[in-house]
Every structure is written in structure tokens, then in C-alpha cells.
Symmetry: D3
Subunit: 132 residues, 6 copies
């Protein structure tokens, strides 16, 4: 199995609902350093998993929908705790939709899966892994 990963980041504000979150129930924020990993069984005709330039560009586009925003005001996350793990899923699902729409190129339709990791600090991160 092969994989390629590209890294980018976003800086958002949000708050959590639920006593388990303690002080994180207050409005605060985070930088998420985001790693998007694309997997496939065999390389394509160019000897790549995916065009890394387009992968980086599409990851940037997905993060651009969230970057420099207060996620508490984003209708996509109404009544949802935008935890690191939930945002990892949101980014992975949006990338998957772009793969299916052909935004990463025709060859990218051969991808087997995506894993997205969001690093919220030097001591904590979360991942979501899905098939394509």
C-alpha cells in the first residue's frame, strides 16, 4: 500500500457544549496543523499516488472554508461540538467529495482511502480514516 501526505493549517475560534469540556466551554480557539493522507494499492501511470500539487491545492481549498472563522457561527456545525476528531472527519469527508467530483484529477479516482490528522498542539492530535 502506498500513501502520500500533504500538510497545511487553519486557525479557528469555537466553544464546546458539555461539562466534560471544562474551561473549553468558553469561546477560545485553535491552530490545527492538518495532515491529509491519500492511500492507494498501486501507483498511477506517472508513478504517483495523487498529483501532490492538486492534493495540496484541494486541501487548501477545504481548509479555506473554515480558516479565520468562528465555527460556532458556521451553519455546517450547528448543534455540533467541533472537536478535533469531528473536524478531522469534516475535512476528510470534504476531501472525499472533491476526489469523487474529479477535483484531484481522473487518476485520483483510483484512490483507496483518506486519513486526516489535526494537530491541536505539541501534545494532542486526532485522526479520522475512511475509505473512498
Amino acid at each position: 500500500m502506498f500513501s502520500v501526505t500533504v500538510r497545511d493549517h487553519m486557525m479557528i475560534a469555537h466553544s464546546f457544549r458539555g461539562e466534560v469540556f471544562g474551561p473549553a466551554q468558553r469561546l477560545h480557539g485553535a491552530t490545527f496543523v492538518v495532515d491529509a493522507t491519500f492511500r492507494r494499492e498501486a501507483l498511477d501511470a506517472d508513478n504517483v499516488v495523487v498529483d501532490i500539487g492538486r492534493a495540496a491545492e484541494q486541501l487548501g481549498a477545504v481548509l479555506g472554508e473554515l480558516n479565520y472563522r468562528n465555527l460556532d457561527d458556521d451553519p455546517a456545525f450547528r448543534d455540533t461540538n467541533t472537536t478535533t476528531e469531528a473536524l478531522a472527519q469534516a475535512v476528510a469527508d470534504r476531501l472525499a467529495a472533491r476526489v469523487h467530483a474529479g477535483d484531484l484529477g481522473e487518476a485520483a479516482r483510483g484512490l483507496a482511502g483518506i486519513t486526516v490528522t489535526l494537530r491541536e498542539s505539541h501534545v494532542a492530535w486526532a485522526s479520522y480514516e475512511r475509505d473512498l
Copy 2:
């Protein structure tokens, strides 16, 4: 599949038995930067894999049993080479016991597995992965 990882560290002394270990047969030591990853299929009602505060607290408690000690004197490791891979298993198993005891909360009983990685330097690390 979702996962959440928390990072902490411990600083221990130990020595190894066996010619394969060369100079590491002498009493020496290591800082292990420890990453504990918790996995589950679906997020809980709070939209998390595990309460990250309790995860960090329990990892700290497990490492506290080993930290600032000479593992050659620890009865738990009598007649055992406390290699990086063996310590990764020890930390994972102790975390698993705490999950089963309810120390990470009731929702943590839905966890699927744990992976523990011990980084012994910038050029070497070991992992142990197990189900829960």
C-alpha cells in the same frame, strides 16, 4: 475509524542483558516521549473519542509509576529487558487496565484499541498496538 493521541514523557535508567545490546548492556538511561493513541469506530455523545483531559491524566499516572526510576530495580520488570518495544507494551497494557476499570470514564468503554509509541531519540522509536 477515529483516534485521539496525547503526548507525555518519562525519564528512566536501565540496562540490558544480551550481547546484541553492545554498550547498552551498561547502566544508562533514556527519555521516552510517549504518545498514547485511543481508537474507536464512532464518536461518543460529546463528539469525542475519549475525554482528552482524562486521557492525559491517566497517561501521566501510568508514566508516574515508572518516571525518575531505575527500571532494573522495578519488580515488574524482573528478568525482563525493558526495551523500548517492551515498555510500549507495558504502558499500553496499563492504560488498557485503567480503561477497563472505568478510570477514563464510562464512555471510554466504547474504545476499540490503544497504540503506544515511545520515542527514545530523534532517530528511533517503537510502538505497540492492541485491542481493548
Copy 3:
């Protein structure tokens, strides 16, 4: 010259005023991974720059005043852009006040200076350096 550095982090929300900031004029947030460096010419009687445990504890206390908050609502930063560089200065000055108050121990009065670095992402950071 000797130095000792301890690392911690904080997660805050804020917004900037000024066209130069572009989309960062919207309410957003950041994780700041914070490195506090303490400098002195000669080591103290214990052979340290500063008691590293107290240094970490005091850095945690300073960050605790800011962590999990919307800095736009903090009177300390009224009419101030809480840029990474400005926050580096705020953290350094608050640490300096604690050194002068004796919170890092009597020996810490021999410190020569403090540098605080705030890493806002994997591609950008800012520092402020001052004497004590």
C-alpha cells in the same frame, strides 16, 4: 551564557483591527506553543539556571490567565492587537514580574534575561527578548 527553556501552550480566540490583517480581522483563534527561555551568566549553587519545575509551573500560571479565552474580551488587551509578537511580550513581561516577585525562587533573582517564543503554526512564530 547559559539558558533553560520550558514549553507549554494555550488556545485562544481573538480578532485583529487593520486592513493589513485581511481575513484575520474576523474572529478566529490560535494554539500558541510557548517556549520560555531563561538566561544567566553562571549557574547557581545547584548547577541550574533556574528550578525547571518552578519555571514550568510559573509559565503554566501565566498562560492560565489567557488560556481558553477570547482575548478580545480581556481588559488587559483593550484597544490592542493581540498579535503573536505582542502576546510574546505580554508573556515575557508577566514572567519577569513573577521572577521579581520571587515566584521562581530566590536564586532566580540572578537571571539575566527572558526570551518568549510563540509558535502559531508549523510555518510561523514570533519572539520577544528582554533583560531582567
Copy 4:
């Protein structure tokens, strides 16, 4: 499942064929920081996955065949795009051949698989994973 990883690096020149590569069609170069991960179900008699010294030595030997070279001139890669993912496979396959030849020791014959990750920058990397 246990794993052990060792890290080394190589510095090579190469160029790519195919419009998808844009400016990387020109002769350029890369530092690849290479992580070789060895997996096995149970530890050997010494409580290790593999003799880490021999693993590092063999990884160094494999990288030494490629290091400080222009891969466009290497017959092993004639008519092949030496992408990061393709080189990850080449390194993994060469390590596998050395495991099978006994170069990592007799106990290494119990290894289950190898994963090789090549980091080409702070924002992009590729991996190849195979059984043994």
C-alpha cells in the same frame, strides 16, 4: 503488533517526466528523511522487534546506494519517475531483500512487514508498506 522505526536520510538529484510535474520536470533535488519501520507480532528472545543497531546499519547501507547521486543516471531507475512514493518502495524492497538474506540477523526472519516513509519537506511525505 509491535514495531520499531529507525531514521536516516539521503540527498539526491533527479527530474521527472510528465506535464503533471510542472517545474519538477527540471533537474532539481531533495533531501529525503527516511523512516524504516519493522513490524512483528511478538518480540524475540531479547525482547526486541529487531536488533536496532543492525536495522540502522542496513538502512544506512541501502541509502548509501542512492545518496549523493543523480538518480536520472542510475540504471535501476531507467525510464522510471523516481517519485517519493516510488523511492519509498525501492528502499522498502531493498530492506526486505536484506532481511531475507539474513543481513538483519536470524531473528529478523520473524518480521511481519516493513513500512518506509520518505519526508521530502516539512509539508509533504510518502510511504510504502509491504509484508515480509
Copy 5:
């Protein structure tokens, strides 16, 4: 003293002249992860050292002149060993010229100095520091 640092990278081919370089006399290559640090005594009216967006953009422009190239063919480096330290100086000097030309904005004329660090691997890097 305040500073702000932005990170980018370039991937180049080159060779060295001189026996001291050993196998690096052959045509090979490197990824340089480049950190450009801008220093000034006091923050400007926006509370920044420099507009970080423009700083990143100008660093990208300077690296774009070198990226994906064989530096042995670049007239700017004729008869010059393009060592990591020499390239750090070249990048710093080109950034300085852009500061003086006003490319980083009028406020950037108040900058005191620039340091450029080029990381060639996980175990080696070089810096050049200059006034403005």
C-alpha cells in the same frame, strides 16, 4: 527585541568543488526548509514586526528564483560552492534587497535585521544573520 519568522522550502540540485566535500562533489540535491526571521526593536502601528503575509510572499518569491533548479547552472553562483551557509546568505541578502525596495511595505523599513536558517536534514542546518 522582537522577531517574526516564516518558513518555506526549496528543492535544488548542485555539486561541490573541493576534496573536503567527499561524495558531495557528485551532482546530488537537497530540500532546504528555510526559516526567515525579521527583527526590530519596537512593533509598528499595527503591533507587528512585519506584515507576516507579505513576509511569507516575499520569501516565497526569493525561493522561487532557486526552486526546482540545478544551481550548478545558475550564473549567480558561478565558481561558488552553494553550501548551506552560502545559500543562507544569498536568501538573506535577497530578502534584504526586497525590504529596501519596499516590497515588504513601508513599515518594514524599520526592521533591524534578518536571520535566515536553511535546514538540509533532520541533523544539520546553517544560518546567516545580518543587519538591515
Copy 6:
């Protein structure tokens, strides 16, 4: 001012004397990831600060005197707390002696200074800086 840095590591056991050290008064250990930085005003005839190969070799030799040992038994540190800052000085002074003895080459006699940083974990490190 130019600088070049090389990184290596050592794994040692030791204990501290003094109540300020708390549990670190027990025999424990550490991995120190060691960065040795060499500074000079102008590059030498080969366009380098120092022959990086020899710098790495000499750093390895200095660390080899300490590696895989219990520093409590080393006569060089009798009645001395081998704190991170004290070990940074020991490494820097030993490297300086090697520079003066010509072990880093004749050109290295033009070096202006050395800084040694010992990273004891992902959240703490210490440095010692000296002239040559």
C-alpha cells in the same frame, strides 16, 4: 555572522543532589538530543563555517565519552550535579578543546564560538554558549 549546526544524541543515567530536584534525586536517566552550533564571521576558502563531516564526527566522539553510561560514576563529574545546563557546558568545552587541538581541521581555527543545546524532552532543553 554564519553558523552551522549538527545534531546527535546520547543516553545516560544519573541522579541529582539537592531538594530542589524532587524525584530527580533518584537514579534515573535521559536521552539528550544534542545540537552543536559553530559560529564564524566569514566563510572559509571552501565556503563553509566548518567541515560538517568532521564537525559531526567530533561531536560523536565527545558524546561517545558519555553515552551509555551512569554519569554518577564518571570521575569528571564527581561532586557535580550533571544537570542539562552543566552537560551542555561540558560538551561545548570538550568540543572547544578539539577545535584548539586541530581535530576539526586547520580552517576551524577561525571559528568565533560554539553553542551547545541539549534537549532532554519535547518540553525542556538547555544551552551553553561560549567564545573560541
